[in-house]
Symmetry: C2
Subunit: 387 residues, 2 copies
């Protein structure tokens, strides 16, 4: 595959003590300064924020979900309405995932269902057969169909279909799953190349569960294929509190081609981002910042776990903003007491304001990460944040 | 009561064929060009829009509800957090109602409850005793307490407590209710004057149901009292489709002091606004524009009833904006097809975008009304809109 002149990844600075690096991903819809956080627009909308609000909060790029959009409204409908950028009013860099993670996480949930409900997903060499969580309709997602759907959606950065192995799978089964992911990676590349019009760049996913040698094997295999970038899969949000996660990050990145951008799929905790950057990740995505907003959660540097819950009665007459010094719309204009009231009263505006704060917090966090790398003091800044 | 130099109402132009007029209400938080629509911020937030978004959509003034805020978070809490303007981040003109309408509409609903539940409201000379719809706690709202609460909230324009008689009450009972409203009006004025600090101006409410002579009597009585403005009460939203409503408007305004601003409480249909302006109303408020947004409704001039419902499957692949030529954030950036998708998918962002459109629609409508009066062709423009 010839290099695509519409896309480039440039490393502009590297940290001496860690694998952290400063970079820039160029796309037909502009550049992303890395390390960067991509906000999830699961169903083609960042939850509770308009594109104008997401932009005003400093958002560089967002990620939409192939699984959700293929089911509703359907990739062909999005294509007929001008593609995902136009559909969702987002004119900046945009990524879609492969659809795999959602299929397999829903499938795993179904396996755990003790009410005799049939599993929602079945994997064959061909692809993954699954039933829609919306209406039970049957679907087959193959590596080729995932590429086709993502082409119809038209995001700048697209991802090859992988199998996300259930957590705590045996080494043998994880190796079998990984081999399938690698065969799917090659099929994805072929499907991508056959219809490549220069408007998209493809990321290959490495897997391997918690097994160091499988992670290393996967990094080498995927690095040996002409992907534009690499994505690290299988880091389930449920594991995010587990310190071993950071070792998995390190194993997963080790052996990857360092000339390509590395995306850590589904990672969005504050500490996880520092750890991910430290082992060489360039971009991240996660529903966390907007999801916790819908439950009254606001990100702050000072709080334990980097969050407070505005539902808490202690904020009832608190005249301070969520976070002193934050320049988001919520902090510039409103007290914790007001936000407490909105959350308690079930006001949509409350969810929006918390989402805007959390988006701005993440964008400021990533700016801090980048500035610390540029200033040659990433490790010190990481210690100051994470202890 | 001496005139308050912080407030003024000036009529700058009058229509020849109708009672429509162009004016300006000046308050300590800026001026309102009339005729104007005040958006409801029931619980101190315009539903699904931030203050910045409401401002960007051209909103001049909003109205918050005393009933809701006295129960949650409580007027004293709002006062301790700096008053309503600061609490809700709104630095422009702000009105609160008296709390009466909500008490009586909830009371009427309880009367219709056939499950043996006790009525939620009981009216005496002293005031209205009612139970909170949130937790059943007992409250007494008197004319004096309504003024006290509204002083704690600190809106620019405040309203005297009235009794909203149940619709279709007999003439005799309506007359009895009206006499109570008039006694409450005098008590409200006394309570207001005793603590007047120049930061607020008081509206007196006229009632009288559907009885012309009672409406006229009320207009004269209320006009004889030194209120800054007049509000027309008892126009329940349920009657809005009823053409007789416009006759009630006319009766209610007839006999009022024309040097004072007239507010039509709870009126917000497109046709109702044209009719209201035609009989001399200056300001309006209603939950309609933001409420229908939460059910997929978008206001458009072209549609029957001035609205379309984006839930409708016919919009699935409609690439047009809600309304051609509209400069709102939703119409500038998104197709009906996208909004249909968001509404179907239950995305909060969809509710926000429809609310922003409807807010902008109403503000553009009021600008059209004002321009037509200024140009001396109000009646022609009203015919063009309402047929």
């Amino acid at each position: 595959m010839a290099p695509n002149p519409n896309f480039a990844f440039t490393v502009t600075a590297t940290d001496r003590a860690t694998l952290a690096r400063l970079g820039r991903i160029e796309t037909p819809h502009g550049a992303v300064e890395t390390p960067a956080f991509l906000f999830c627009a699961t169903k083609a909308a960042v939850k509770a924020a308009t594109p104008a609000q997401a932009e005003a909060a400093g958002t560089q790029a967002i990620l939409a979900n192939t699984y959700h959009l293929m089911l509703q409204p359907g990739a062909e409908t999005v294509a007929r309405l001008g593609g995902l950028h136009r559909f969702m009013g987002w004119d900046r860099p945009l990524m879609t995932d492969s659809g795999g993670f959602q299929i397999f996480s829903l499938g795993e949930a179904a396996d755990e269902d003790e009410n005799g409900r049939a599993a929602l997903v079945r994997v064959t060499e061909e692809g993954a057969r699954f039933r829609s969580h919306l209406d039970g309709s049957a679907h087959l997602l193959t590596p080729e169909r995932s590429i086709e759907i993502q082409r119809l959606l038209g995001a700048d950065l697209v991802v090859a279909l992988d199998e996300c192995p259930p957590s705590r799978l045996s080494r043998e089964d994880t190796a079998r799953s990984l081999a399938l992911t690698h065969r799917w990676a090659k099929r994805s590349l072929e499907a991508f190349a056959s219809g490549d019009d220069g408007r998209q760049a493809l990321y290959g996913v490495t897997q391997g569960g918690v097994y160091p040698e499988l992670r290393r094997d996967s990094a080498e295999t995927i690095s040996g294929l002409p992907f534009f970038g690499h994505a690290i899969g299988g880091c389930l949000p449920a594991q995010a509190e587990d310190v071993a996660l950071y070792e998995v990050f390190a194993m997963a990145v080790e052996g990857l081609d360092r000339a390509r951008p590395v995306h850590l799929l589904g990672i969005g905790g504050v500490r996880d981002i520092w750890e991910g950057v430290a082992v060489g990740a360039d971009t991240f995505d996660c529903v966390h910042p907007t999801r916790i907003a819908r439950h009254g959660g606001a990100l702050t540097r000072a709080a334990k776990g980097f969050r407070i819950n505005l539902r808490n009665a202690r904020f009832r007459e608190d005249a301070a903003p969520i976070e002193e010094g934050c320049d988001c719309e919520a902090c510039r204009r409103f007290s914790r007491g007001y936000l407490h009231h909105l959350v308690k009263a079930g006001e949509i505006t409350g969810l929006t304001l918390l989402a805007l704060h959390n988006i701005r917090f993440m964008n400021r966090l990533m700016a801090t990460v980048r500035a610390s790398i540029a200033a040659g003091r990433f490790a010190a800044e990481m210690r100051a944040w994470c202890g």
